[in-house]
Subunit: 195 residues, 2 copies
């Protein structure tokens, strides 16, 4: 039985090119909207023919759905107790490329970018509710778990939107420190129950 991974003796391996296409699609969807990303763009980035994209991942919508699911990664992964949430949310905004929270933020950004494309809207909505909002409300806990989860996500999404989708000219240095500190305090206010 052959390994499912790419064997070096075979010059061309479907699994690796599939991965390349997937990664190219992921990068594209991360920085552009669903409609503006073309199959040919993805194919060019991956260094393959356009036909292969459709061949390996059925339709464009299927590909997008798979990218949004995050490949083999499972659900949104967030801290177990509410006390660690504010720092976690802040790290989702700071541009440090933590491997752990990078995936999470990427998923969120992909959702942000394509949320207003009808073809991608339903996929995004269901994934957002199931994989993000619901688990978050679970960690936050009563009272008003849902409302506070929405509030926290609104703050996170708004900030990331201004930062990434609609790039804001960078704030001055002391303003930025104030920005971060205030942001952390806001997250604490919304997320931890006793505050």
């Amino acid at each position: 039985m052959d390994e499912t991974l790419c064997m070096p003796r075979r010059r061309k391996c479907a699994a690796t090119t599939r991965e390349m296409i997937f990664e190219a699609a992921r990068a594209r969807f991360l920085s552009e909207s669903y409609d503006t990303v073309g199959m040919r763009d993805i194919a060019r980035d991956a260094g393959v023919d356009v036909a292969l994209v459709s061949r390996y991942f059925g339709s464009k919508e299927d590909l997008f759905r798979l990218v949004l699911k995050g490949g083999e990664d499972r659900k949104f992964e967030l801290p177990g107790n509410a006390a660690e949430l504010p720092a976690f949310f802040l790290s989702m905004i700071a541009q440090g490329e933590d491997a752990e929270c990078g995936h999470q933020r990427d998923k969120l950004m992909i959702m942000l970018r394509s949320a207003s494309s009808p073809a991608a809207a339903e996929v995004i909505r269901s994934s957002f509710g199931r994989d993000v909002l619901e688990p978050l409300a679970g960690v936050i806990g009563e009272p008003n778990a849902d409302a506070r989860a929405v509030l926290a996500m609104a703050l996170l999404i708004g900030t990331n939107f201004l930062k990434t989708v609609m790039p804001i000219e960078p704030l001055s240095q002391d303003e930025l420190s104030h920005f971060r500190a205030e942001l952390l305090r806001l997250f604490e206010r919304v997320l931890v129950p006793q505050a």
Copy 2:
């Protein structure tokens, strides 16, 4: 000399059809992304031929730019002193159709919807900085006017995004009241200096 407005004795008047097209475009851009809105959609809504859209407003990008400018309306209009800002921001989220703040929110929503379309991005960015962020920072005042303006807009944008672009299933009634009260407190914390 003729009046520039449509005269009733003339059956067809360019100004009124131009207005119809403009209004149709406005409505479309308000609920869809720049890329998904087609010239033919706008024309159908306005009840005219596609060619007229291109004839009256040069290109699609020109039309979008004009819609974003708000027709004849001038810049973003917001309360003069910082104390009234929180209530104003909250009213921008509540779905009450105040004539005064309706225009403002519509502009914001149009920006939100099409921000990730490269063709519309630069138009939106410049308008957002010039017409929204800058005046807001002026009203907020020191210290850290820019940072706090960004923070407030992040909260507003995030909430409106979750509410409109990615429609969230409605919160329960007491959660919603908590939501609004907490939201107002957050806006107060960010916007009024002494808080």
